[in-house]
């Protein structure tokens, strides 16, 4: 694409540096507040967090000295932390697959010029406007694990429809409980993924489809060889956005299950528990691990985006 817009390079340059005579002074002054604020409140605090995580500081008193990587070693030998990492992995996988499939399906349906498109678009997108805490309160009731006579929410619905075999303990199941938390998350974010895909579909010029049809491509071939390749950057963005949201999951769990509930433990809730009890070193270590996990997902994406922009 870059070859089609050579004109930008030839645009006559403005005279340099009206303010202060030097070309770099004004821009540097402009970004300086942001650099300072981000430097202190983001990178400074990340550094401070890592520093805390290396201390022997397990109560509200001051640090008892340098502990090296011991806090991390303790965490990775703690069954409960491994369990919460496993929960996080299960949750993220379910959340990603769920939102991508549903989001793509809806976008595909709407893209085919279904009737009432704008209405459906609004309906699907709407849950995103609700905060996780607010929807969590509602889903807490919907996902109530009482069965039989005392059932409420979805279990009650299943009971009324004589689908009693579908009644289940939802998020209180030790092995799969965390997947129940993914249900409201999928409900909430699928519409957003749909909007991303829809924008992707709309961004593909009609000429490409026409050209493919002229060449005798079947509908499947059209999707497989023309549309999907064009959508892959959108899918990547969706994975990154949903993935990093998923890794940070906290509010939804706090609203549905509360912080001490065992079956829905994830690193973020454990971090909160450790912080509240005054075990700052352990809490900071969990925070650092979360940061690293999110960075593994995001940094390659940022690097590739940066490279693409450089190429333009």
């Amino acid at each position: 694409m870059s070859s089609t817009v050579p004109s930008t390079a030839r645009r006559p340059r403005r005279a340099r540096g009206r303010i202060g005579g030097h070309g770099w002074v004004a821009p540097v002054l402009l970004i300086l507040p942001t650099v300072i604020v981000i430097g202190v409140f983001v990178y400074g605090l990340i550094g401070s967090n890592i520093h805390t995580s290396l201390q022997d500081r397990h109560n509200i008193g001051p640090s008892q000295g340098f502990a090296g990587l011991e806090n991390y070693r303790d965490l990775f030998t703690d069954d409960d932390f491994i369990y919460s990492l496993r929960n996080l992995l299960l949750y993220t996988a379910t959340f990603l697959v769920g939102t991508l499939c549903l989001g793509f399906l809806w976008a595909w349906l709407l893209e085919r010029k279904a009737r009432g498109e704008s209405l459906f678009r609004a309906i699907y997108l709407f849950p995103m406007a609700v905060s996780f805490v607010a929807s969590g309160v509602v889903w807490r009731w919907l996902l109530n694990n009482a069965e039989g006579d005392r059932a409420s929410g979805l279990n009650r619905l299943f009971g009324t429809l004589h689908l009693d075999f579908l009644q289940n303990p939802w998020w209180t199941n030790e092995r799969w409980g965390i997947l129940a938390i993914a249900v409201p998350a999928i409900w909430q974010l699928s519409g957003y993924v749909m909007a991303l895909f829809l924008a992707g579909f709309r961004g593909i010029p009609e000429e490409l489809r026409e050209a493919a049809r002229m060449d005798g491509a079947s509908e499947w071939q059209l999707y497989r060889h023309v549309l999907f390749p064009q959508l892959s950057p959108v899918a990547l963005s969706a994975i990154i956005i949903i993935g990093h949201m998923s890794l940070k999951v906290f509010d939804l769990i706090m609203a549905i299950a509360g912080q001490t509930n065992y079956t829905t433990q994830v690193p973020a809730t454990q971090m909160w528990i450790e912080f509240t009890r005054g075990d700052y070193a352990k809490s900071a270590a969990i925070g650092t691990i979360l940061l690293v996990i999110v960075a593994i997902l995001i940094v390659p994406y940022l690097v590739s985006t940066y490279r693409q922009e450089r190429r333009r």
């Binding site: 402009l30 109560n59 009482a146 001490t260």
Partner: protein
């Protein structure tokens, strides 16, 4: 370029605003007639209690000004986080609320609160509070807080109508958990929830009363000072009982909090509920009458033992207004303060000299027990252990709630004791 300059100006203005507001924050704590009282009593009967207390304080100290530092939310955990950051930044309030007893350990170890032993001597408070309580409050030989109210944790609430339906006498008393469990099973056979329970901390609450019932007061106290073995067979037997009791509760416990569980008894859907005596307020609000609509007796096997928890107030080190703090503590310890606060909150006075003639019917029974019974410290409410220990126990109990593995629960409790036992 004009736009750039405007943007610059706007940016500078925003920055300077920040700076101004930062300065504003500092100049607040200057005057010395202000007494900032930090609590998590922000609503309901707790707020009413605090208001009543402030009225007494204003009468006793017309020249001091009460400043409400209440932080709402999270049953106190939000307030504790805010408080901790203030203490660490050297900006303590004049006084703050904390559960009396071992929950203060961390503050003491961090050197954040003052020893009040001399103040107790000087003001004669040692004679006002029962000896058993003072004994429970002592840490490393010192007393670090002044209790404002007492709650009892080992109370069993029952609905007589439901019991009748299940063919059980309404006022039947049990001298052990085993006898009670046999009846609970009979109730379950009738398709009624025998025992209602809610989320994790209420399960810890139930566990503590089971430990107390099976081990007896002395061995129960030994759990906290290391003389009772957490890994022993007595504790194992108690945990088996706890496991049995948990199997006789409502299955949707994780989704409920204590008012929901108590409501099950009020509504006649469950026969029994074990909860602290703050549940009394729930029965009163719904105009239920003691001994006709509901009964409240000690948990089977804990007769003659008062499993106490208390809120209390402290004196932070390097507080902004030491005289003001002392005045507040004096109001807390005074009979007027104790009566006004506890009547509004629904608890009972910690001091035995307070005039309690016009307290409610349930409170009267609690007041009587308070002066006669053996006093032990509640686990679930911060009197028996440090915050760290309780957090570990809660985690073990929460895990047990999902996997029902008694051996693993005991292992978790042993580990928690090893990590947190006072030396």
């Amino acid at each position: 370029m004009n736009a750039t300059r405007k943007a610059l100006a706007a940016g500078l203005a925003a920055l300077s605003l920040l700076a101004v507001s930062a300065c504003g924050g500092e100049s607040e704590s200057g005057s010395t007639d202000e007494v900032e009282v930090f609590t998590w009593w922000a609503e309901g009967s707790e707020k009413a209690g605090l208001d009543a207390l402030v009225k007494v304080f204003d009468e006793q100290n017309p020249d001091l000004k009460f400043v409400n530092g209440a932080v709402a939310g999270g049953a106190g955990s939000d307030a504790k986080n805010v408080l901790q950051s203030r203490l660490q930044n050297g900006e303590p309030p004049a006084t703050f609320q904390a559960h009396a007893g071992a929950e203060l350990t961390d503050y003491i170890n961090a050197g954040q609160i003052e020893d009040l032993t001399d103040l107790y001597e000087e003001k004669g408070w040692n004679e006002r509070f029962p000896e058993g309580l003072l004994e429970r409050l002592k840490q490393d030989g010192g007393i670090y807080s002044v209790p404002s109210n007492i709650h009892r944790a080992n109370v069993m609430w029952a609905n007589p109508a439901v019991l009748k339906k299940a063919g059980i006498e309404a006022n039947k008393t049990y001298d052990s958990l085993d006898a009670w469990i046999a009846d609970l099973k009979a109730i379950k056979a009738k398709g009624i929830i025998p025992l209602s329970i809610a989320t994790d901390w209420t399960q810890v609450h139930l566990l503590e009363t089971v430990l107390l019932a099976d081990l007896g007061a002395e061995a129960y106290n030994g759990l906290w000072d290391g003389t009772t073995d957490w890994g022993g067979s007595e504790v194992k037997a108690a945990l088996e009982d706890y496991s049995t009791l948990l199997s006789l509760t409502n299955t949707d416990r994780q989704g409920l909090d204590w008012p929901d569980a108590t409501q099950l008894v009020i509504d006649g859907q469950a026969a029994y509920n074990v909860m602290g005596d703050w549940a009394e307020a729930a029965f009163q609000e719904q105009k239920k009458k003691l001994n006709t609509d509901y009964t409240a007796v000690p948990v089977p096997g804990t007769e003659g033992v008062f499993d106490f928890l208390a809120d209390s107030f402290t004196m932070p080190v390097d507080g902004p207004n030491a005289a003001g703090t002392e005045a507040w503590l004096e109001t807390i310890a005074s009979d007027e303060g104790q009566v006004a606060f506890n009547k509004a909150k629904g608890s009972i006075p910690a001091s035995t000299t307070a005039d309690t003639a016009d307290f409610g019917e349930y409170q009267q029974t609690a007041i009587k027990s308070w002066s006669e019974d053996e006093i032990v410290s509640s686990l679930a409410h911060g009197a028996a252990t440090s915050v760290n220990w309780l957090t570990d126990i809660t985690a073990a109990v929460a895990k047990f709630g999902s996997n029902n593995d008694v051996a693993e629960l005991q292992e978790g409790l042993v580990e928690a004791a090893e990590d947190n036992k006072p030396e």
